[in-house]
């Protein structure tokens, strides 16, 4: 366990190696094509000030957005993936892992932290999409399991921020069983009546959606996030017809009844701290 205290400069420098988070001086919005200063975009929680497009960001940015003064204790910070199957496709899994660690500066696709949000305790497990597509392997499952145990032990509310392409194939059935492991811990938490908020961000798919992401007491999402079980390409190939407009977007998932609400990232912290207060009082 280590104690992190970062200032704003620290955050912008370390994002340099990252692909997902805009890093140049200027940022062109992929949605409305507006050109914005990256600094302004960051100030605006990585939301386009013209069209409210939500850029993909990682755990570092979410922790900064959520935790008071960006102060938090990271849990299990040094956990990395084993390679139980010595998996080899066109590349070995072990070298894929090494590359991902070097490229992103992350240890795996999820980080857990405990901190204060407007003075109230919160445990956050946040996925990082840039680490092998935010895929769920043993580390993601184990860190969530331990994050839940930490929440249960201290009776702190839990938030999991999902952003994932699904299972990590290179861990095969070990990856599949993380759906079971995380859901088992959530079953315990469920019975102990500790609030769990699941925030789905773009994209949340596959085994992640079909386990912890859909098991929140509250299931919420960022605007425009793609949320689904099967990928759109697979569905299209299976049913051999076009998909309806807005299919698998947060807005549609809200309409079909599987989300409690959609939250703009600029209001995320306030909304979450209000909820924690409502659960507590």
């Amino acid at each position: 366990m280590s104690w992190f205290k970062r200032n704003k400069e620290g955050i912008t420098t370390s994002t340099e190696q990252k692909k997902e988070v805009p890093d140049g001086m200027w940022f062109k919005c992929p949605s409305c094509k507006a050109t914005l200063l990256t600094k302004d975009l960051a100030e605006n929680r990585y939301v386009c000030s013209d069209c409210s497009y939500h850029c993909r960001i990682g755990s570092e940015e979410y922790f900064e957005i959520l935790f008071d003064h960006n102060e938090f204790t990271e849990l299990d910070a040094n956990m990395t993936s084993g390679d139980p199957l010595q998996f080899q496709d066109t590349k070995s899994y072990s070298s894929r892992l090494k590359d991902a660690i070097n490229k992103t500066g992350l240890k795996d696709a999820l980080r857990t932290a405990h901190g204060k949000i407007n003075g109230q305790d919160l445990v956050v497990c946040c996925m990082d999409f840039e680490f092998i597509g935010g895929s769920m392997g043993s580390v993601v499952g184990e860190k969530i399991a331990r994050g839940i145990d930490y929440s249960r032990k201290h009776r702190y509310p839990l938030m999991i921020i999902s952003k994932s392409g699904g299972a990590r194939m290179m861990e095969s059935a070990f990856s599949l069983m993380q759906m079971a492991k995380t859901s088992a811990k959530l079953a315990l938490m469920h019975d102990e009546k500790i609030p769990y908020i699941s925030l789905m961000t773009d994209p949340t798919t596959g085994g992640v959606t079909a386990s912890y992401a859909m098991l929140g007491d509250l299931n919420i999402a960022e605007p425009g996030a793609m949320i689904g079980f099967a990928g759109p390409r697979v569905i299209k190939e299976t049913i051999k017809r076009d998909l309806p407009k807005g299919f698998q977007t947060a807005e549609t998932v809200l309409e079909t009844g599987f989300l409690d609400f959609i939250v703009d990232r600029r209001e995320l912290k306030e909304k979450i701290s209000t909820l924690i207060r409502l659960f507590a009082n």
Binding site: D76, N78, M79, T80, S81, G82, P84, L85, Q88, D89, T90, G137, S138, V139, G141, E142, A145, A167, M169, M170, E171, S172, A173, F174, L176, M177, Q178, M179, A180, K181, S183, A184, K185, L186, A187, L188, H190, D191, G206, G207, T209, A210, S211, Y212, A213, M214, L215, G228, F229, A230, G231, V234, I235, T238, I239, L243, P244, F247, T252, T256
Partner: protein
């Protein structure tokens, strides 16, 4: 009970070509014999033994991909066959009480040697028309919700649950997504951990990913010898990781998806042996073997308290995974 005369399956997979050829020879000998001019009965017996030898040899050394092929054999027994063979008084129960009745998952009470058991299983069709009707064993959310409804009812009346898993995956369709495929599977997984009654899961064919684990949380999880269970089919894995459909054999090997691998990796509790030549070669014998295992395991699980079972169930799955610290 009466003994069922079973004839070996005559539909051969590509790797079974040596057996198919021996059957050709056997057929020729039988023709000669039937003409009555020469007595070749000794050669026929010899040939029959040779076929059995060859089958045993072939099936003792199947690759991952070959086991995937066996698990998908068109003559392989499916859930309803097993329930009907093993039990009496099977009453099928339908519907999720919300949207509809999913034909890809079946369930109901049955009597297993006098003990009432809730059986739930994926169901594939036995011919072209039925395969469509069963949606090839690919369930929609209402299938998983029907399964959960039946599990909760079993719990209410203190009856053990047996799930039979055989699916190429949960159905990837528009309606399924709109009705919450992911939510249905997620909720089943969580709720199966909380069931107070004994739960046994058996992979009887294909155990593909979320579609399989959606009814796959048990005190005991078994795989029949020639089945597979993992997070993705070898074909899809090949297309994603190798960007080509041509590496399915390699993907099957890398994924370690066979019962043997899954057991060695500590991800299942045991392997249930199949008759020589696979379950499809002697479905009745297979049902007999499965029945014996279920009775034995249900007896053992019934000796534990609900809390002991739930704790052990949770602990078992929580120990799965390999991390470095």
């Amino acid at each position: 009970m009466f003994a069922v005369q079973t004839t070996p399956c005559m539909i051969f997979l590509d790797f079974e070509k040596p057996i198919a050829e021996l059957y050709e020879e056997l057929k020729n000998l039988q023709e000669i014999q039937s003409k009555g001019k020469i007595d070749v009965s000794a050669s026929i017996r010899e040939m029959e033994e040779k076929i059995e030898e060859e089958r045993k040899k072939l099936y003792s050394n199947l690759t991952g991909w070959q086991k995937v092929q066996v698990s998908r054999h068109s003559e392989r027994p499916y859930s309803l066959f097993y329930v009907q063979q093993m039990c009496s008084d099977f009453v099928e129960l339908h519907g999720d009480r919300n949207i509809k009745d999913d034909k890809a998952i079946v369930g109901g009470f049955a009597s297993l040697e006098g003990r009432t058991v809730m059986f739930i299983g994926h169901q594939k069709g036995i011919n072209t028309k039925m395969r469509q009707y069963r949606n090839f064993g690919m369930a929609n959310p209402e299938g998983y919700r029907k399964a959960l409804r039946l599990m909760k009812m079993a719990e209410k009346f203190n009856k053990p649950i047996v799930t039979l898993i055989d699916t190429p995956g949960a159905f990837p369709g528009i309606e399924g997504e709109e009705r919450g495929q992911a939510e249905a599977i997620a909720k089943n997984i969580r709720e199966m951990f909380r069931l107070k009654v004994p739960v046994i899961c058996v992979i009887i064919g294909e155990g593909a990913s979320g579609g399989a684990i959606g009814i796959g949380i048990g005190d005991k999880v078994f795989m029949l010898e020639n089945t597979w269970y993992t997070v993705i089919s070898p074909e899809s894995c090949s297309s994603i990781l190798w960007r080509s459909w041509d590496f399915k054999e390699k993907a099957a090997e890398q994924l370690q998806l066979t019962a043997e691998h899954m057991h060695r990796n500590g991800l299942i509790d045991g392997i249930i042996p199949e008759p020589v030549g696979g379950a499809h070669n002697d479905p009745h014998a297979m049902a007999g073997i499965l029945k014996d295992v279920l009775i034995r395991e249900l007896d053992a699980l019934s000796a534990q308290t609900p809390q002991e079972r739930i704790n052990a169930r949770i602990e078992k799955f929580c120990n799965m995974g390999v991390v470095v610290e």
